[in-house]
Amino acid sequence: SYSPEPDQQWTVPPGWVSLGRADPEEDLSLTFALRQQNLERLSELVQAVSDPASPRYGKYLSLEDVAELVQPSPLTRHTVQKWLMAAGAWNCHSVTTQDFLTCSLSIRQAELLLSGAEFHRYVGGPTDTYVLRSPHPYQLPQALAPHVDFVGGLHRFPPISSLKQRPEPQVAGTVG
């Protein structure tokens, strides 16, 4: 097996408190980012439609054009779906570009599918938000390495607002 995100911070950010291990029968929603194709070509097209000097300036792609260009290969889609079905994750839905799959499955199934993951419930943030996250890194079968970029819903916590109510405007000039 391999770790798709060895460099992802998975320690719990300040302001979040663990409420302990989640119930294995609870439902979970995970997002699988499938490997896209033709990204080089996409980058060239972005340059062409965004450069006023280009004859193609402003001639944008439709969502369907983008889907046709970047959608994962049939092999990728088939390999990932077979892997998910084998784990009992049938309740999945894709997006127009077919490069994301969102699946509902039980925590038990998810922890079997993503070896090393362990789902805990946390509460935190300004509005006492509840989230399910894994404080341990996950691994995928090596065979998936060419097909999956990452799995969303395990490590990244919702952001905390950075707006501030400054009591009075800063005095011009130097750093406060």
Binding site: D7, V46, D51, V66, T127, P159, L163, K164, T174
Partner: protein, 368 residues
């Protein structure tokens, strides 16, 4: 004289007249997104416009709210985003994306990216208040999200991200301090918005750096060709450069532009609240003005602006007030003493090319 930033102050500073509003006859639209699990309440927008919106034609309801809304208390960020996007980009159809009520295991920002990949008809301008330290995210995640921004750019969507409120940021790598860049602000495929303050706080005058304004150089993305000349110009001429060990001079430099980020009035839960500050405020203001430019472009049979940066840097910030005074915050140590980069003539990694001067900006971006 003013007692804090309101729509009138924004419109006066950026030279918007009462005529600079959406015509209500085009398919032009704009959106703001925040992922703080905050609710947005329409009644706040109505109260805000009753208090501050008398001098310009405006809408008092949003065209679409994406994401479950509930009876919870409204959040200041959700209120601020909508109220200033609909004041700067007045009388233009507006969507609000907020993510409370999502499944506990989902990542709100990722859900927004899936929405972009699943809806053919989306607003042309999106202002987004979200950022994480680059070093806390996996490269697999950062690279993939960057590809999602390329997809959006190829479709002609303009994505504006707040540059962050920690100045240059600061962290310690093997015992040595370094500046800490933020993502998605550091993506080469989005337009990043920094923050400014009035030089004289209670007057509508020229702007200086707001010391919280996020800015710097990415440790993940190489410098895109569209900004190499501008960045080289800054690095060769700035009299206040921090030690080179603090930043990656060959990285994608940001922000690209800026707007006022200090001392806003917001209405949230029906209460007017003063002195709200952050680049989450400057981003919807700049986004609203780009929506107005799109309005004129569409009325003239032209496509929307799309990914703005190549044009912005080619035109060397034409149509923007250049901000040349002030520095943003960074590491509190002997070496840099809390000072990151400082603004200077032309582009700089604190306020980018500067803040919008609408008539000049419209002239610079209307054709082709």
């Amino acid at each position: 004289l003013h007692l804090g930033v309101t729509p009138s102050v924004v419109r006066q500073r950026y030279n918007l007249t009462a005529q600079d509003v959406g015509s209500g006859t085009t398919n032009n639209s704009q959106a703001c997104a925040q992922f703080l699990e905050q609710y947005f309440h329409e009644a706040d927008l109505t109260e805000f416009m009753r208090l501050f919106g008398r001098s310009f034609a405006h809408q008092t309801s949003v065209a679409r709210v994406v994401g479950k809304q509930g009876r919870g208390r409204a959040g200041i960020e959700a209120s601020l985003d909508v109220e200033y996007l609909m004041s700067a980009g007045a009388n233009i159809s507006t969507w609000v994306y907020s993510s409370p009520g999502r499944h506990e295991a989902q990542e709100p920002f990722l859900q927004w990216l899936l929405l972009l990949s699943n809806e053919s008809a989306l607003p042309q301008v999106h202002t987004v208040s979200y950022g994480d330290d680059e070093d806390s995210l996996s490269s697999a995640y950062i690279q993939r999200v960057n590809s999602e921004f390329m997809k959006a750019a190829s479709r002609g969507l303009t994505l504006l991200f707040a540059s962050g409120d920690s100045g240059a940021g600061c962290w310690s790598v093997s015992g040595r301090h370094r500046f800490r860049p933020s993502f998605p602000a550091s993506s080469p495929y989005v337009t990043t918005v920094g923050g400014t303050s009035f030089q004289k706080p209670f007057f509508v005058t020229n702007e200086i750096v707001d010391y919280i304004s996020g800015g710097g150089f990415s440790n993940v993305f190489p410098q895109p060709s569209y900004q190499e000349e501008a960045v080289a110009q800054f690095l060769s001429s700035s009299p206040h450069l921090p030690p080179s060990s603090y930043f990656n001079a060959s990285g994608r430099a940001y922000p690209d532009v800026a707007a006022l980020s200090d001392g806003y009035w917001v209405v949230s839960n029906r209460v007017p609240i003063p002195w709200i500050s952050g680049t989450s405020a400057s981003t919807p203001v700049f986004g609203g003005l780009l929506s107005l430019v799109n309005e004129h472009r569409i009325l003239n049979g032209r496509p929307p602006l799309g990914f703005l940066n190549p044009r912005l840097y080619q035109q060397r910030g034409a149509g923007l007030f250049d901000v040349t005074h002030g520095c943003h915050a960074s590491c509190l140590n002997e070496e840099v003493q809390g000072e990151g980069f400082c603004a200077g003539p032309g582009w700089d990694p604190v306020t980018g090319w500067g803040t919008p001067n609408f008539p000049a900006l419209l002239k610079a971006l209307l054709n082709p």
